[in-house]
């Protein structure tokens, strides 16, 4: 396990489509999108694929307010997986609406985030 994790890169949000495409074309089946919040408040995303005989994945690290490209048109089943991340981590996915699991107004927002997103000066909403 890499302690430092991948570098926080803006490009990763766009590259995800290319890498998913490579995987799917190689005959892999997406099994999960794991999101987790790291100590520094950035989000690590792990896209796992079943490419026999084992699991392969690619991972990258982003800031929570960045918008990630959706891969639902490359692999249809990814839609639910992405909606799940949107709900549980409050991430933004291009064209993916929230509300798969959480009831607006009643459930906590982004419940799996350890702490509210660190204040980022004035560039965030409001």
């Amino acid at each position: 396990m890499n302690e430092a994790g991948p570098k926080i890169e803006r490009n990763a949000c766009l590259e995800v489509r290319k890498r998913t495409k490579e995987m799917v074309e190689a005959g892999a089946r997406m099994i999960a999108i794991v999101a987790l919040e790291r100590e520094d408040g950035s989000i690590e995303l792990i896209y796992s694929f079943d490419r026999q005989p084992g699991i392969v994945d690619f991972r990258f690290q982003i800031l929570p307010e960045w918008e990630v490209d959706s891969v639902a048109d490359i692999f249809t089943g990814a839609l639910t997986l992405e909606r799940e991340v949107v709900d549980l981590f409050g991430l933004k996915y291009k064209g993916i609406p929230p509300g798969l699991f959480l009831e607006a107004g009643k459930s906590p927002v982004a419940p799996l985030r350890r702490r509210p997103a660190p204040a980022k000066g004035g560039d965030e909403d409001g």
Binding site: F101, L102, E103, K106, S107, P108, P111
Partner: protein, 151 residues
């Protein structure tokens, strides 16, 4: 006073089952009640799956936030006299899920409950026992409601 009416009432409890976020363990046991080994049709119970025609609501699960309104709605649609049975630990107190962020922690946080059934998952035998207990409570409740109507 045991009127003919209340005699018939306790012989014909129609149930409606609603899962409000349980792990399915209790739900399976509720279904097992309908099947040959436990067969609650012996007591005249029928699964109507329709709140308007139900007498007894069997509620499983700790009531998730999204189910909350739906449960209240179902309860309101059920005509009086009615009975609510909270099946299993999580429906009674939310126990196994007490640390979860999206649950209300028990059916009684949302609607009044008449009978609590222990067990995780609750066994069918206990459910039958709860049903019978519920029917005797129902008799009292119905008698009370009748008195109210007269008074």
């Amino acid at each position: 006073m045991m009127t003919l009416e209340s005699k018939m009432r306790i012989r014909s409890p129609w149930i409606m089952h609603f899962d409000t976020g349980s792990c399915n363990g209790c739900d399976m046991e509720v279904w097992a009640l309908l099947t040959p080994r436990y067969d609650i049709e012996r007591f005249g119970a029928m699964n109507r799956a329709n709140p308007k025609q139900a007498d007894i609501l069997l509620i499983t699960g700790p009531v998730t936030k999204r189910c909350e309104d739906r449960l209240r709605n179902l309860y309101e649609q059920t005509p009086e006299p009615k009975l609510v049975i909270a099946c299993g630990d999580c429906a009674s107190t939310g126990a196994p899920f007490h640390n979860c962020y999206n649950v209300n922690g028990g059916v009684d946080k949302v609607i009044p409950v008449d009978v609590y059934v222990p067990g995780c998952a609750c066994r069918p035998e206990v459910l039958i026992d709860a049903l019978v207990l519920g029917l005797s409570k129902w008799r009292e409740k119905a008698a009370g409601a009748d008195k109210e109507a007269e008074g």
